[in-house]
Structure formats: C-alpha cells, structure tokens
C-alpha cells in the first residue's frame, strides 16, 4: 500500500506532503509498538516458564515472586524423570502420534483420492457422510467408545489408541481438495499407458501431493501430540499415558513441587517446537487449509 499511496503524492502540495510523511512515520511507529507489545504478551509466558524451570523450588514459591532469580539449577530437569514417568510419556506420545500420523496419511489420501477422481455409485452419499463426520465431536461418543474398546480388550493398548484415530474426516476432506485440484488428464493418460488404479495413485498422484501431505502430516501430528481427553479416557495405567494426559494428571492435588512440572512442560513442547522451526510453512498451510472453502 506504500507504493500505491506514493503515486498520489503529486497531487498534494509540499506542506501537506511533509505532514503526511510525518503522520506515516508516527503511524508506523505506533503500529510497531502495538505489535511488539502483542509479541511480548504471546512470548512472555513461554520465557517465564523456561526461566522458572531452572529455578530452585524455594525461589519458585517465594513471595514476592521475581522473574529472575540469583541462582539457577538443572535439578528440575534431572528430578522430573524420577518424579514423573516422563520417559514413558514421551515414548507413548511418539508412538501414538507418529503411527497415527503415518497411517492416517495413507488412509485419508486413499479415500480423498477416490472421492476426488473416481466416479462410482453413492459417491455423493459418501462425500456427505465424510462432511457430516467432520462436525461430530469426539466428546459426545466417548463413553460408548470407552465401553466398546473395553469389550474388545483394547483399552490401554497402542492399538486401541491408534486405530480410532487412523483416519479423520478432515484429512479426507483436505486430501480430496488437493486431488480435485490436480490436472484432469493426468490419470487418463496414465490409464491409456496401462497403469492400474493403485499405481496411478501411488506413482503419479501422491508425488504431486507432497505439500498437502506434509501439511496434513504436521496437522495430525500436532493434534494427536497435544490431545488430552482422548488418551485420558482410553488409557488407564501411567505406563501408557501420553504427555498431555500424564502432565495433566500431575497437576492435581498434593503436588508440592512446581519445578519438575515446569521442566516437564518444557520438555513436552520441545519436539513440536523444533519441528515448527524447520517446517513452519506446513504448519501454517495446514491451518490455512482448514479454512479452505470449496
């Protein structure tokens, strides 16, 4: 917009012009100050957490509270593995979120592909089924799911955690939109070359969908990594708990240590944060696509 307004300056006389420029500079400063303030609001809790996780317990619970403390220690990061079975939580979260992500990428793109590029009986019905599925929250059917998993002896197992999440209506929707956007004649040419349907899908369509697949991958990974209620209900022993469920269960009553909990919180968000730094584009794309309209 800067460039656009520059063209119109010819019409304005010189005094107005300098006024205008001064206003603009002031506006830009105000804008930057407000934004920096907002950045501070967003970042401060994280910095405070990081800093406090290196404090002695005594300094954490002291009044008045201080942001900085004279002494820092690693003891919380050592103690946390002992007080909370954090290693197990990390392992479970990696297995649950990782396997769910991989499997759902395969299943979602298969279904999305069929809905996007194949003509078959009942296509509209299936499409609406997926669309409606997107609107059904897990919370309303969690109790029967708990009972169902119990009857199938799948409570507190990796299988029980992964399978119900192995496909998502949103993932299907996202992959469908992706495949709809690919050129129409691609598969027709491949079919003429004698490739079968599975090969067309894996050799031609999937390689062209890498950006969407990446976006969906980080999207499902984040969702499952951070989910609380689902693993809370489907796991019973602490040896199966994921990071959010494990941490949430540790902030209950009679906790007389903040330090290790803070260290645990830092550790729990570190992996996703590192992935975010390197794959920021895909995270943002995933969110942007969730707002995509037909």
């Amino acid at each position: 917009m800067e460039a656009r307004t520059a063209d119109t300056t010819e019409l304005v006389d010189s005094t107005k012009k300098s006024n205008y420029h001064r206003n603009k500079v002031i506006k830009s400063i105000i804008f930057k100050v407000i934004m920096s303030l907002l950045i501070l609001i967003v970042v401060f809790p994280f910095l405070w957490l990081l800093l406090s996780s290196f404090k002695y317990e005594k300094d954490i619970i002291t009044y008045p509270p201080h942001i900085f403390s004279g002494k820092y220690t690693f003891q919380n990061y050592i103690k946390v593995w002992d007080t909370i079975p954090l290693l197990g939580y990390v392992k479970n979260t990696v297995i649950f979120a990782g396997a769910t992500m991989l499997i759902s990428l395969v299943l979602d793109s298969m279904t999305g592909y069929a809905l996007a590029r194949m003509e078959f009986k009942g296509k509209t019905a299936f499409y609406y089924f997926v669309m409606v599925s997107m609107m059904i929250p897990f919370m309303v059917y969690m109790i029967p799911l708990f009972i169902e998993m119990n009857k199938m002896n799948l409570l507190d197992t990796y299988t029980g955690l992964i399978v119900p999440r192995a496909t998502t209506a949103f993932g299907i929707f996202m992959m469908r939109s992706n495949f709809v956007g690919l050129p129409r004649d691609l598969d027709e040419a491949a079919r003429l070359d004698g490739l079968n349907e599975w090969r067309i899908f894996t050799k031609i369509m999937l390689p062209l969908s890498k950006p969407t697949l990446m976006a969906l991958a980080v999207f499902t990974l984040t969702n499952n990594w951070n989910d609380l209620l689902y693993p809370l209900i489907l796991t019973t022993t602490s040896s199966m708990r994921t990071l959010p469920a494990g941490l949430a269960l540790f902030t209950g009553q009679h906790i007389s240590f903040y330090g290790p909990v803070m260290a645990g919180a830092v550790i729990s968000m570190l992996p996703l944060f590192i992935i975010y730094i390197f794959a920021q584009k895909y995270f943002v794309q995933g969110s942007a696509m969730s707002g995509m309209k037909e």
Binding site: M1, L38, P137, Y141, T251, M269
Partner: protein, 308 residues
C-alpha cells in the same frame, strides 16, 4: 490344464473388475469408512442407547430406566448450569478470537520482515498444547507465586485471583484460549486477505477511500466467507471446551467454570461413575451442537448465495 486356465482367467477378470475406477473406489475408501463406522457411528448411536440405562463403570446393577436420565437432567441444576457455562465461554471466546485474529491478519497482511516475524511468533502458542498452556497460566496467574497478580498488585489493584475468583475464572480461561488459538484465525484470515485482488483497492482509492474505508468497504466484504467459517468452527469448538478447564480449574470455583464436557467427564469417570446419565447429558449436548452446526451451515450458504 483347463482348470488352471479358467482360474487364471478368473483371476484376470477379477483384477479387471476391481481395476475399474467405479469399483476400485470402494477399495480405496474401505479402511477409512470401516474405521469411521466402527469408532464413530456405532459409538454415536451407543450414546443415545446408553442414555436409557443406569449403568456404572463396573457394569454392576445395569438397569433400563427409559427416559429417567433425561428427566433427571432437567432437575439437575449443576448439569443445566454446565450448559450455560459452555454458552458463556463460547460467547466470550469466539468473538474475541475472531476479532483479534482478523485484526492481526489485516495489520500483518503486507509481507515485510517484521510482519513475517510477528506471524511466526503468533503461531507458536497454536502448537503448544492446551494442557501445557493451562499449566503455564495457572502458575503465572497464581495469586501466591504468580508474577502477573503481583505486578497488578504493585499498581495498586487488590491482588486479582483469576482462576480462583468465581466471576473472573471463566473470562480468564477464555482469554487464555484466545492467546493460544488466535494464530489459527489469523492464518485463515491472512490467506483470505492476501487473495483479494489489488485492483479492488486501486479502484477504491480512485474513489477517494482512505485506509479505514478501504478496510470496511473492500476487505471486510471480500473476507466474509472465511470470517463466517472461522466463527462457525470456533462456535462448535468452544461448545466442546474441556482441556483448558480440566487443567486450570477442574470446573471450580463453585462449579462456575464447569463446562458440559467437563461435567460429562466427571459424572462418568469419577465418583459416582454414572455412565448412563453422563451419556444422556452427552446426547443433549450433541443435539445442541448439531442444531448449531446445521443452522450456521444453512445461514452461511444462504449468505453466499446472496453475495453472488
């Protein structure tokens, strides 16, 4: 010989049959559809079914009670309140998040270094779990060890109790949720704003519109569909609020922050472990969410038709 021949040809015709797109499609979709059926549709029907029973978590003394659980709901002040609290949270959270997210998107729509940095930072809370956010904020806002209440106290306020104050707790939770999630809205709205053709602004400028006027007369009408989408998903998401409440207040003080899902959870999975009654409450919540989804969907498509 003949037998082998027919089996080969049978195999071949079998393959040919399933290789036709109109048949192969079912194979492509089968795993997803089966999973959705087994782990969503069947449990969903189960919710309705269970709500007609008295059933506890040990499955002892299961009894068909007809509509009793629904009758009980309307006499259960705590249950009805939990619905109101959910609505209250939604009314606090949704507009705030949409406005903050949209304004941030509009302000940062030009791609400069500063703006790109700001966007990256604003998205960081999105990848942080609500559990972790809850842990951070319950310590940061704690009147005894938290830094923020202390600072406010230094400015002459009586130390605000945030999560512990019956009237402040829900707004605090909503504010925390906005902090955590506005990056999503910002990203969606940013995509929408950047998709607006520059020629629209140029012609507006020609007509002498200043930036404010441009925002209201060009930007807003162009982003209405995305805005509508954000409002809708936020509404439905807010109706399911649980994680941040479970971690920060667990429904307190005085059940003032107990949301519908929190209530379902504590009825079903802590004493007295009434899975049947919890299912009845879940059924009612589902009906509310369904009405909301369908009506907002209809409204949106109606609006879009009008705009065309």
């Amino acid at each position: 010989m003949e037998e082998i021949d027919t089996s080969v040809s049978k195999k071949r015709s079998f393959f040919r049959f399933w290789n036709q797109p109109k048949h192969a499609a079912y194979l492509f979709m089968a795993p997803s559809i089966i999973i959705l059926l087994f782990f969503m549709v069947i449990p969903l029907i189960g919710t309705l079914g269970l709500s007609f029973f008295n059933i506890n978590i040990f499955f002892t003394g299961t009894k068909f009670v007809g509509l009793d659980n629904f009758v009980q709901f309307f006499h259960d002040q705590r249950a009805i309140n939990s619905m109101w609290h959910t609505v209250y949270f939604t009314l606090l959270e949704t507009p705030t998040q949409v406005i903050v997210g949209t304004v941030a998107a509009a302000a940062l729509s030009r791609t400069t270094l500063f703006n790109r940095f700001s966007r990256s930072v604003f998205y960081v809370p999105v990848i942080c779990s609500l559990t972790t956010s809850g842990i951070i904020f319950s310590m940061l806002l704690d009147p005894n060890i938290g830094w923020i209440p202390y600072v406010l106290h230094q400015f002459g306020m009586s130390t605000p109790q945030f999560f512990r104050d019956a009237s402040l707790a829900m707004p605090s939770i909503a504010a925390m949720t906005v902090w955590k999630n506005f990056g999503v809205t910002m990203t969606i709205m940013l995509t929408a704003i950047q998709a607006i053709s520059p020629s629209l602004y140029e012609s507006a400028e020609m007509d002498g519109a200043n930036k404010q006027q441009q925002f209201f007369h060009v930007t807003i009408p162009q982003i209405i569909p995305s805005l509508g989408f954000c409002v809708m998903t936020n509404l439905i998401g807010s109706m399911q609020v649980f994680d941040q409440i479970y971690v920060t207040t667990a429904g307190g003080p005085e059940f003032k922050t107990e949301s519908a899902v929190q209530y379902i959870y504590s009825r079903g999975f802590s004493a007295p472990y009434q899975l049947g009654y919890a299912s009845a409450v879940a059924t009612i919540l589902f009906v509310i969410i369904a009405i909301l989804s369908v009506s907002s969907n209809l409204y949106m498509s109606h609006k879009e038709k009008q705009m065309r």
